[in-house]
């Protein structure tokens, strides 16, 4: 009985979908010209791919940006989650789409400049194969420890007189890279223990299973403010406004800025006028209150720069990291 009922609902929603699609198609052909407002080329809906699960920071950013973009361009913008392989699966799908500006993706910087250091040749997508629309924001990593550990600075860790263990949010992540670089430069004997994401890593740090861990600031801030966790350093280039009293690793004397960064990608070969319309649309979306509130709530630092600047920054990051990793003999993949 219930099964029948549900089937009917499915069938109905399917019919509704078809109807909606045909209506949108009509709108594109007939209604597009008559509208006085400037419309996005073609009037077709835009799909924004997200390579992570719904509910995570990348997904939230994509949804907030999509909403603003939709209002500005006058076409529906739908977010489609295609999780897998740290976003590589979504990137692969994006590369196969038409470069007409109607399929975009929120691309994580770690996939561009950290994952290639951990996985085999050719297993991570190359950003040279994509057009970059715009930068979005930066997300900072912070090195935390449980108050009971007695550590409060990098010097304390160096003086521990024993090998220390550090939790990472996974192999090939900024969490791993930031700590590997810091401990190599500080000449601290340390073992990486990869966990499956930020929350299990934090639990392990809180429970003293590992000595320290590096997680994204937004995930740790509540515990830091309540005194449940002690921040040691952030890996930002300059102190993030959300955590003004904690030194950066650079200030502590180690050259290891590692940040998560996000940008909007498109398949290679988007026509100039379409690209310009998208860029204008995103800039307008960034001005909306909802989007700015999201940045603030999630402790994100805006980096709403042009796509080409992102390409330069990310390429430079990859080159820099590759050089340091080789210099210190760090193997992100094999050393665990």
């Amino acid at each position: 009985m219930t099964t029948n009922h549900r089937a009917r609902r499915w069938a109905l929603s399917g019919a509704g979908l078809t109807l909606a699609l045909s209506l949108t198609a009509c709108g594109g052909n007939v209604g597009g010209g008559s509208d006085s407002e400037e419309e996005f080329p073609g009037g077709d809906p835009i799909t924004m791919l997200v390579g992570q699960d719904p509910g995570g920071s990348t997904d939230l950013i994509a949804r907030a940006a999509a909403e603003g973009l939709s209002d500005e361009l006058g076409v529906p913008v739908t977010v489609e989650n295609r999780p897998g392989a740290n976003g590589a699966l979504a990137a692969q799908q994006l590369a196969g789409e038409d470069p007409d500006g109607h399929t975009l993706m929120v691309y994580n910087g770690s996939l561009a400049y950290i994952t290639p250091l951990a996985v085999g040749e050719g297993e991570a997508p190359d950003i040279a194969d994509f057009d970059i629309v715009t930068g979005l924001s930066l997300d900072d990593y912070v090195l935390v420890t449980a108050p009971g550990s007695g550590f409060s600075s990098v010097e304390d860790l160096a003086a521990a007189g024993r090998p220390i263990t550090f939790g990472t949010t996974g192999v090939g992540t900024g969490s791993q890279l930031s700590q590997e670089l810091l401990f190599a430069q500080a000449d601290i004997d340390a073992t990486a223990v990869p966990f499956d994401g930020g929350s299990p890593t934090l639990t392990a740090v809180l429970g003293g299973q590992v000595d320290v861990g590096s997680v994204q600031l937004g995930e740790a801030i509540e515990q830091i403010e309540s005194g449940g966790l002690t921040p040691i350093v952030t890996f930002a280039e300059e102190r993030p406004s959300y955590l003004p009293d904690t030194p950066t690793a650079v200030e502590a004397g180690y050259d290891v800025p590692v940040q998560q960064s996000r940008a909007v990608f498109a398949p290679e070969g988007v026509p100039d006028d379409v690209m310009q319309a998208l860029r204008d649309g995103f800039q307008a979306a960034f001005e909306t209150e909802g989007y700015q509130q999201l940045n603030e709530d999630n402790l994100l630092t805006p980096l709403e720069v042009d796509g080409e600047e992102i390409r330069e920054r990310w390429t430079e990051n990859l080159d820099n990291y590759r050089a340091v990793v080789e210099e210190y003999g760090i193997d992100l993949g094999g050393d665990a």
């Binding site: 009985m1 897998g84 392989a85 929350s199 639990t203």
Partner: protein, 509 residues
């Protein structure tokens, strides 16, 4: 114990949406309980994708309702038609059907409903006290503890489950192997991915569950010949007499305790506890010869126990993130789909979800008690829906549903592959449950072991020097060694028996 979150949990349940979904859950549960073949694990697996659109707590309240609701429904067909709707109601057939033939079907159903309600409720109360206690050790649960727990879980799944032990071990072995597929989380090396990015994160749990339980069961059921049994039209006298109640009160009490404890154990659950409760009642009875001929305790004990177990099997899932049986494994998947990681942090980080789900069980049990008595006739009519109509619709929903979880065509292929595997397994007498459980626990075991060894710097004695993991490993050793000791003792006793008197002694059980 801080009562505020518990009370907030009631506020969550009493929201109209949640009440509605609780009702939907228990009704669906009762329906699938009535339908032989389609079990709660399959139903929950098939319905997984619809949880995406609704609030996590609402979704889990509904899925939990399906599980314990099925325990009620399974009883009805056992008593009336000698056709157990669920494996956990098989033993109810013995005395329940006998009572029905004596014209006491109403009494049997009434006692079963009252027992189920009592068992369920006692178990929820115990859960409410025990779960936060377990969760208070949450931070002490590090990788070594998870390793030990996963190890114990896999052992129990393979040895304690009802059915052939060898086949369970084989299925669990396959599950462990399947858990190794994917990019290794420690070295980023590809394992069995054949260069396919869809496999980089390993096989997804949801399509496996939907394939093995959903599609596999549907295919298997299609093969069974459908015998439309005529149900008795009138069920009179649902309220048991005072004498019946007095007779079964002990059985209900013992059934609650047995069910509660066996439900917590990995591999235990409703089926095992109903068998154990029946055995206990028969052994304790002064008149064991009445059993099988309509003894009311023979219905009360197992029916109480299976409900108590259905509730208590939520404890390891909600407090440690370890599923105790196949249905819990599917609910584990549901929690992941709605973005909640079950584990020690759940009680403190998501108190509304935790207490909302726990407290919804009180309401659900009351709803079931109210419904199960007047609606018996209606539910029995469901049996007349022809599988040829039901099956294609269910298959379609399964395939569309799995696509919506990850927007992935690859997942549809996976469901079909695992559906065929599930069908073949059932046909060959393998229970797919241990496979699914070992698949979940295998990933926990490997990650936990490797993390522990990194933390211990390669020194495995660390497992035994930590109090919790040490204790768990001792239990593991006891459980592993016990069957050998038991056989040895049996053989010695047999030899003694042969020495002393009759050379043709029957095998001791």
């Amino acid at each position: 114990m801080d009562l505020a979150p518990v009370l907030d949990g009631f506020a969550v349940v009493l929201e109209p949406t949640n009440l509605l979904y609780c009702l939907i859950g228990v009704v669906v549960g009762m329906l699938v309980g009535v339908l032989p073949g389609l079990g709660p694990a399959a139903t929950i697996a098939i319905l997984l994708p619809i949880t995406i659109g609704i609030e996590p707590v609402t979704a889990i309240i509904m899925l939990a309702g399906i599980f314990y609701g099925a325990q009620y429904g399974g009883t009805i067909t056992s008593v009336l038609l000698k056709l157990p709707g669920e494996a956990s109601s098989v033993v109810t057939v013995f005395d329940g059907y006998a009572m029905a033939r004596q014209g006491r079907a109403g009494t049997a159903l009434g006692i079963a409903a009252i027992g189920s309600f009592a068992g369920g409720t006692i178990s929820i109360v115990a859960l409410s006290f025990l779960a936060p206690l377990v969760a208070s050790f949450a931070l002490d649960f590090g990788p070594p503890e998870y390793t030990a727990l996963a190890l114990l879980g896999i052992l129990l799944v393979a040895t304690v489950s009802s059915g052939s032990r060898l086949k369970a071990v084989v299925a669990a072995g396959v599950g462990l192997l399947l858990a190794t597929v994917g990019r290794d989380g420690f070295t980023a090396t590809e394992r069995f991915t054949f260069g396919n990015l869809n496999l980089a994160d390993g096989l997804d749990f949801v399509p496996i569950a939907m394939g093995l339980f959903g599609l596999g069961e549907i295919l298997y059921n299609l093969e069974q010949r459908h015998n439309a049994t005529q149900a008795p039209t009138t069920v009179a006298n649902v309220w048991p007499s005072r004498q019946d109640l007095r007779q079964s009160s002990g059985a209900i009490g013992r059934g609650s305790v047995i069910g509660f404890f066996l439900g917590i154990l990995p591999g235990g659950g409703a089926t095992l506890s109903s068998l154990a409760a029946y055995a206990v009642e028969k052994r304790r009875s002064k008149t064991p010869e009445r059993f099988g001929k309509g003894a009311v305790e023979g219905v009360a004990g197992p029916e109480t126990a299976n409900n108590a177990a259905a509730t208590s099997s939520f404890i390891p899932l909600l407090t440690l993130g370890i599923p105790a049986n196949a249905t819990m494994a599917v609910i584990f998947g549901a929690l992941l789909v709605v973005g909640v990681t079950p584990g020690p942090q759940l009680v403190t980080e998501e108190p509304e979800l935790f207490w909302g789900v726990v407290n919804s069980m009180y309401i659900g049990n009351i709803l079931l008690l109210i419904m199960s008595i007047p609606l018996v006739g209606l539910f029995v009519k469901i049996l007349r829906v022809r599988p040829a109509i039901l099956a294609p619709i269910t298959v379609l929903i399964t395939l569309i549903g799995v696509y919506t979880v990850n927007n992935s065509v690859f997942d549809i292929v996976l469901v079909i592959v695992f559906g065929v595997l599930g069908y073949l397994m059932k046909k060959a007498g393998f229970d797919p449950g241990p496979l699914l459980l070992a698949f979940v626990l295998g990933a926990l075991l490997e990650d936990g072991l490797r993390r522990s060894l990194l933390i211990f710097d390669g020194d495995a004695t660390g497992f035994f020097t930590r109090p919790i993991s040490g204790t768990l490993l001792v239990v593991f050793l006891l459980v592993a060694v016990y069957p050998f000791v038991a056989t040895l003792r049996n053989r010695r006793r047999q030899e003694q028996a042969q020495d002393t008197s009759d050379p043709n002694t029957k095998e001791l059980v």
